[in-house]
Symmetry: C2
Subunit: 384 residues, 2 copies
């Protein structure tokens, strides 16, 4: 039995439902941010992130900073690009537009490579773009929360290393870390950035990022100083290294409660092989996608290989809008999200299936959601 | 009886001890950041901040963003200064150096007006500085956490308005909001920035800021775009206005748990007249400062009018260092902080007395700390 009061199951693509022990860690009594018990917990948390991202290279560097996932973009743009630098942003939805806007804020030139809604840029298009111009950075949204489109990180990274070996490979993993396979070292990634409230299963409030040794070297070789203070690795790098070495250190006060919750969640996640976790997400996703197809509904992500395993963006039947169906689902105890992609926001809904709702089948969240979707659509007159 | 497990009383100048109900709000079940219940809680929280800062001017604008107190500096530097702008930073300790560094990061020119350790720049010195150069912004640390020096905000703001009326008055209230009197409207302030984990009594993780209508107008009239993405009011202003109007809105995912804890704490704080709260902090501070004097010890802040009411920085007796005395205090169930001001860090300790430890006398935290200090120093050979 959960120790949480009864509440609708939150099945949006983040924040997700949280495990009891994780939520209890949020109410940890107050501790000094430079006292031995917290320094130990923070240090262990940073080390566990190496395992989650599957990196054993000692030059890789984890960062955990109070903020939202968006702060990860600032970390990349402020530390790894310099004014005038060319950046290639692969576009699979809303979040590429915003990441590009972030780069422009810091004076970099962002070129977007767009795909039709529900698709992703093809490898040959990426190859063509990389040969036409020297890009300092390529960014890819692993799963775009607005469309549920999954990018092919491994093949993409191999392509970049082959065609444009000086280009840093930056993955926006906000909606993928913890629910999609990511092999930081094996795939030759330079940055994977994420947030706490999705696949990692911790309340929002932390920007979590892994940088490669190559990215750190690139940062150290900058000609200009980073143009953000709060996001500056100049300020944070020694702090992260000290905490992981179990030495107290101060730049800005971290949040002991959020770090304890992250420690608890990572301990749970790493207590089983990561491959099992990813397989569980794939299996739940297949079940949901079959149910969606059986209902005669289409996904935004048009091909099986483009479809995320931690969320599903579903076109509503013609004439039915999110404000008609979402309150219906809420009455059945399930919260889905509306559309987010500007051009088609009123035509679809989003179903998030990450974390405890997937790996703890006793909760029954997924079955409840599928039933609610079926009956909820029936009640507004849709019968496939 | 507290529902928290037994633990040493955290009496550092932030994070402070937290009330049970505040900590319980940290483990609120997961909610959508754009769902009606959370939007209502966030909106109410923003409105309550107006009361805490004592502003009824509808053009004042509260901001609550995931991050640490440091992010407040970025908000000011990125949104209110433009490259080349002159800024006057009043120096009363460590935090002025850092705020100045933050301005330089964003291309502004920061001039520091320094006082000897334990003192603050005098009004006639500030007046002289303001007449010598046209400053866009003046910043003052209300209470410098490294020294416990209190600045005189009201008189300072009156001076700025008289001598240099176009200069924005920016108050770093990280270690003062909730424990020192602040009258935003009456004193003509343009920005007061703070964090959650000190006088407001909420776990770390939120940057909290109040801007005047004049500051917002100055922001809107900028010639260049803000050079931070995550700290940009261009991104946050519509979000804060929408949440306060109880309309869902999205730029980056807020932390429902931290916002709920802030809602709980502000509800508690505002349930009594603010003047009573400030008087309680002054009374506790007087008691502590008398005990320190009775022990034959000196404070860093050298004059009564310079001494903060929410913390006390205490010179140790000659020959005794923080690493000798702090573990002794911990054994007695009290956590104090070491020194932070670079030049004298090994010569003093810091005692934080804010929030529930002060306004809930049943806890007995203050008496316990005074006894621990007395006995702890005795055990290392100090007898006044």
């Amino acid at each position: 039995m959960s120790s949480q009061p009864e509440h609708p199951a939150l099945l949006i693509p983040g924040p997700i439902e949280f495990d009891d022990a994780v939520l209890q860690s949020m109410s940890h009594y107050s501790e000094s941010h430079v006292g031995a018990p917290f320094v130990k917990a923070f240090g262990e948390t940073l080390s566990m992130l190496r395992q989650l991202f599957q990196t054993t290279n000692p030059t890789s560097q984890p960062f955990v900073i109070s903020g939202s996932g968006t702060l990860g973009w600032d970390q990349v743009a402020a530390n790894l690009s310099e004014p005038g630098d060319e950046v290639l942003v692969l576009h699979t939805g809303y979040f590429a537009d915003s990441f590009a806007d972030c780069f422009e804020t810091y004076g970099a030139k962002a070129t977007q490579l767009r795909a039709p809604i529900g698709d992703r840029p093809q490898l040959d298009e990426v190859e063509k773009a990389l040969t036409e111009k020297e890009y300092k950075i390529l960014t890819v949204t692993h799963v775009d929360t607005s469309t549920g489109v999954l990018s092919e990180i491994q093949a993409l990274s191999e392509l970049v290393h082959r065609v444009s070996p000086n280009t840093l490979v930056v993955v926006d993993g906000v909606c993928s870390v913890g629910s999609e396979e990511i092999r930081f070292d094996d795939w030759g990634l330079d940055v994977v950035l994420t947030a706490s409230q999705k696949g990692i299963g911790v309340p929002a409030g932390l920007s979590i990022l892994m940088a490669s040794g190559r990215a750190i070297e690139r940062f150290k070789a900058r000609k200009t100083r980073p143009t953000s203070y709060f996001a500056s690795w100049k300020n944070w790098l020694p702090i992260m290294q000290n905490y992981e070495a179990k030495k107290p250190s101060y730049f800005a006060t971290p949040s002991p409660q959020l770090i304890h919750a992250l420690h608890t969640s990572l301990t749970q996640i790493l207590s089983k092989p990561l491959d099992e976790r990813f397989a569980a997400h794939r299996a739940a996703s297949q079940k949901i996608k079959k149910a969606v197809a059986d209902l005669g509904l289409k996904q935004l992500a048009m091909k099986p290989e483009n479809q995320a395993n931690g969320m599903t963006a579903i076109y509503l039947p013609d004439g039915i809008t999110p404000p008609e169906v979402l309150p219906n689902l809420l009455k059945k105890g399930v919260v889905f999200a509306g559309g987010l992609h500007k051009e088609i926001a009123t035509k679809y809904i989003r179903f998030g299936h990450m974390g405890v709702s997937v790996v703890d089948p006793n909760r029954g969240d997924i079955e409840k959601a599928i039933d609610a979707l079926k009956n909820g659509l029936g009640e507004v007159g849709y019968n496939p």
